[in-house]
Symmetry: C2
Subunit: 149 residues, 2 copies
């Protein structure tokens, strides 16, 4: 790429992803508000609805977040009555995250979220699926790159 083009904002993949991520979050926000959740709380619950009773560490690996972000977030979800934080008796370094009945029940109300969000955006589901796969692949590539350093 030409030197002159190298620093143009619209030529940065990083900015395209960064801007899109925030715009997508803004689309979710009003719908999530009805469930009383922030966006990060929502994806945390998505992970837990798939696999329950896992450690903060495992949850962090799934979401690419560390304990600095997760600990206060999980305390909020606990205060809302959606999860429990339990020290693992077998290894007291670990804290297990368990959905409460209320937390499990919220899943039923959450099904409408992805439906509502993409309902009127006029996007081809197949195309979206392809992008998703490619972006996930790129995330993994970066992850691998980091661990090689």
């Amino acid at each position: 790429m030409e030197r002159e083009q190298l620093l143009k904002l619209d030529n940065q993949l990083c900015f395209a992803v960064y801007a899109l991520s925030r715009e997508i979050t803004k689309i979710y926000r009003p719908h999530l508000e009805e469930l009383g959740l922030t966006y990060t709380q929502y994806v945390t619950l998505l992970a837990l609805w798939e696999e329950d009773d896992i450690t903060v560490k495992e949850l962090g690996a799934r979401l690419y977040l560390d304990s600095g972000t997760l600990t206060p977030l999980l305390k909020r979800l606990e205060q809302m009555g959606l999860i429990r934080r339990v020290r693992d008796v077998k290894d007291e370094r670990n804290v297990l995250i368990q959905l409460t009945e209320q937390g499990k029940a919220l899943k039923e109300r959450a099904y409408e979220i992805p439906e509502k969000v993409f309902c009127h955006l006029g996007l081809d589901p197949q195309e979206i699926s392809q992008w998703r796969k490619q972006l996930t692949q790129l995330t993994h590539t970066i992850q691998q790159f980091k661990s090689e350093e």
Copy 2:
């Protein structure tokens, strides 16, 4: 999509973009640290290196950020001596953002950032370019959708 698949984390485009955005930022961080910049400060300067002497409003439209985020960020850049914040004498509601000589000079050192970041990632520049265009298009689609509501 099957109801059972609807809430799976790995089926969410939103999560793919959200995770990728944060992973990309983590790649930039150590390189930007050498320039003493955060990621958002960096993209703000990218915008200003393209077009200087613009209002906070215009800068916000370019970056999809509002004054709540920009005002404190711009104050920090001002303290670093990279920009000036000047009330527009023609319309005192506006604040014009102007690069200082030091801010303009930093551009020379910034050229190495995109080079370093993608140097060893083994990504095809053409492919990246295509993704960037598609992601930007999707951001615009969402923007348009929001303004129609």
